[in-house]
């Protein structure tokens, strides 16, 4: 790191003492801010570039490579801030403290601009252009989104996902949280078993469940899939669950429910525990049954948590991609929006259509996020 020269610290002090506090301060501050803001990415790039060249070229041992990547990724970033802070110390005293905040927030702002703000704008523009983003084609891509058969199916399926997955995840999570709250022992253990799938990737979970749904036509050997095993034990004939339209969509949703119920359960369990005991006692003394207490006392008092969990889940379901990609590859009528987006942009090389689908996805997320943030802020304000 060029800026980490420890000698400079002492130089700084001398220079500061002899520094004349001249006029034209605001313009100077503005310029210095700009310099500071630009210095960040430049310095970062030089440093990371050097290692990056090494990482790309080296035919080295993977382990060494991984270690270097980690050391640079970890230490490099901290050193970067340190170096920039030292540079700021070199500035004239009166500018120093007005520039320093930008050393702290600058990198974040630069990265957000490059990796979120610019792409969001660019994607919107691309969505009005052709496959290779060469010419504007008006609303063609959006017309495609709302007329193409596969797209329409994907929209219909996504709506199904949005309804079914949160309904079951929140429902099961709520029931489980309520039940487990009544246990004297083993509550933590039982909860962690439900929460455990949260640690598993969508791809991993897809393999887990594809194994359960695995199917052999009759005469091609024993069924090794659990579901067909049970099904045949009940006297049925083997079923190819994943190509059985439209039910295969439900079987894919089960995976998401399996993954997400733990999340709902943990949040709702915390909310249930926060319901004051004296309210429950009062209800019991008044002769309410446990079921009445559940519907009339517990549910209303945890309503805001239920809303937050549901909206959060709706957002993650809207973006579901891996499960469909791995399980059915979007075949057999299982398309969903986010999967179509990757399909069109990445597999079919049509940037315009991919971008248009992404914009639709974004527009679908905004209102849900709005509800979520408002609820969240209301809750924060109550604390």
């Amino acid at each position: 790191m060029a800026d980490d020269d420890p000698g400079r610290g002492t130089v700084t002090k001398e220079r500061v003492d002899s520094d004349e506090l001249g006029a034209g301060g605001t313009a100077g501050v503005a310029i210095l801010r700009i310099i500071a803001a630009f210095a960040v990415p430049i310095i970062s790039f030089v440093v990371l570039w050097l290692t990056f060249e090494f990482l790309r070229d080296a035919e080295a041992n993977r382990l060494v490579l991984a270690l270097v990547a980690i050391v640079v990724g970890v230490a490099g970033v901290f050193a970067l801030y340190w170096g920039m802070d030292l540079v700021v110390n070199l500035l004239p005293a009166r500018f120093r403290e007005s520039v320093r905040p930008f050393v702290f927030v600058g990198p974040a702002l630069v990265i957000l601009t490059v990796f979120l703000v610019y792409p969001a704008v660019n994607t919107t523009v691309i969505s009005f252009m052709d496959a290779q983003s060469q010419e504007f084609t008006g609303l063609d891509n959006y017309k495609f989104v709302f007329t193409d058969e596969g797209m329409l199916r994907s929209i219909r399926n996504t709506v199904g996902w949005i309804i079914v997955v949160p309904l079951f995840s929140v429902g099961i999570g709520l029931v489980f949280a309520t039940l487990v709250d009544r246990l004297r022992r083993g509550e933590a253990l039982a909860k962690s078993m439900i929460f455990l799938p949260m640690a598993i990737s969508f791809v991993g979970a897809s393999i887990v469940w594809r194994f359960i749904y695995s199917f052999r036509p009759e005469g091609f050997g024993e069924q090794i899939g659990l579901l067909n095993g049970i099904w045949m034990g009940l006297g049925g004939n083997p079923v190819a669950w994943l190509s059985e339209e439209p039910w295969n969509n439900l079987f894919l949703m089960v995976i998401m429910i399996w993954l997400q119920t733990g999340f709902a359960m943990v949040i709702l369990s915390a909310a249930i525990k926060a319901v004051p005991d004296d309210i429950l006692e009062a209800a019991r003394i008044d002769g309410a049954t446990e079921i009445q207490i559940f519907w009339r006392v517990i549910i209303p008092s945890i309503m805001s948590s239920i809303v937050v969990v549901t909206t959060t889940m709706v957002i993650s379901v809207l973006k579901i991609f891996d499960i469909v990609w791995v399980m059915t590859n979007g075949q057999f009528g299982t398309e969903v929006i986010a999967e179509r987006m990757v399909r069109w942009f990445f597999r079919n090389d049509h940037n315009g259509r991919g971008a248009a689908i992404a914009v639709i996805l974004f527009l679908a997320i905004v209102p849900v996020m709005w509800v979520n943030v408002r609820r969240f802020r209301a809750e924060e304000a109550m604390r």
């Binding site: 957000l112 969001a120 791995v326």
Partner: protein, 313 residues
């Protein structure tokens, strides 16, 4: 003396309690039964996977895993793991996953922590607006960012003939993925860390300032140690998010065996050898080993991190 008497009374109490113990076991049995059923239903898929990953390949493909005989050593093998780690390249992919996930966790947290500190404890113009914009970016799904970033990586960006982003040919490198994950993770990280760092007692920070500490020192010596719980929670969330991510790796890392991560390796195996269940199950379990270890070792932080971070875009 007192110890023995108390132990004696304890034993007595236990004997008195004994009939009560079974009654308590019986007590609320519908609740217990329901909990047990749900827990078993939730565990069975993972158990089936785990059992199959250790069975002989020909048994996996001809009989259901529930028919396995635990005591017959001829049915069990480690060869599936050997195959998947070496000839299917999962060993390499495991290292790649680590090389991707660790920096993609630390970089955004570091950057977000600095920004969160500035948003909480430094005075500058536009502070509120900038923070609102950062949080507002939570709404942008990462699907919105894929196409432009891919183009940025492969062609760079020019505005009016000036190169603002050089053509780095980043596609297929770790760096491409680190940077992308940093961008996607920053809004949430900044938001959560600001909430935490902003709540630290002002008096502590002010007294450090009076003692002559500059912002950088305060950050390093005060803020970071005090924020360990929040940093740890978010670190776990981000690490697992990156570790389990498939989409970002698929788009920016490419599929070559040199660089591909575990989720890619597994998805590829699924595509090419979809019926080789002895490999798929052991491969899938390999992708879960680390997250599950984190889960069991750091459960408290893990739960806090995942619940706080679940809004991620």
């Amino acid at each position: 003396m007192t110890a023995t008497t108390s132990r004696a009374t304890e034993r007595e109490a236990a004997e008195v309690r004994r009939p009560g113990f079974f009654r308590r076991l019986w007590d609320r049995w519908p609740v217990k039964l329901a909990v047990l059923i749900i827990v078993i239903a939730w565990l069975i898929p993972t158990i089936g996977l785990l059992v199959s990953s250790f069975r002989e390949p020909n048994l996996v493909s001809t009989t259901g895993w529930w028919t396995a005989n635990i005591f017959d050593s001829a049915e069990w093998t480690l060869a599936n793991y050997e195959d998947v780690l070496t000839s299917e390249g999962f060993g390499n992919a495991f290292l790649n996953s680590i090389a991707v996930a660790v920096p993609a966790t630390v970089i955004p947290i570091t950057i977000a922590a600095f920004a969160a500190y500035a948003f909480s404890w430094m005075e500058f113009r536009g502070r509120q607006i900038m923070f609102v914009v950062v949080v507002g970016l939570l709404v942008v799904p990462l699907q919105m960012a894929l196409i432009p970033i891919l183009k940025l990586y492969s062609q760079g960006a020019m505005i009016g003939g000036v190169t603002v982003f050089p053509d780095l040919d980043l596609n297929g490198t770790y760096m491409a993925v680190w940077l992308a994950h940093t961008g996607f993770g920053l809004p949430l990280a900044t938001y959560l860390l600001r909430n935490y760092i902003g709540q630290l007692p002002a008096s502590t920070i002010e007294s450090a300032q009076i003692d002559g500490a500059d912002h950088f020192t305060i950050f390093r010596k005060l803020i970071v140690p005090l924020s360990v719980p929040a940093l740890a929670s978010f670190a776990i969330f981000q690490f697992l998010w990156v570790w389990n991510d498939f989409l970002v790796a698929l788009v920016f890392l490419g599929g070559t065996r040199d660089v591909r991560v575990l989720t890619q390796a597994l998805a590829e195996l699924n595509g090419t050898r979809g019926e080789a269940w002895h490999l798929l199950t052991s491969g899938a379990f390999l992708t879960m080993v680390l997250p599950l270890t984190v889960f069991f070792a750091l459960q408290r932080y893990f739960v806090r991190g995942l619940t706080a971070g679940s809004v991620k875009g």
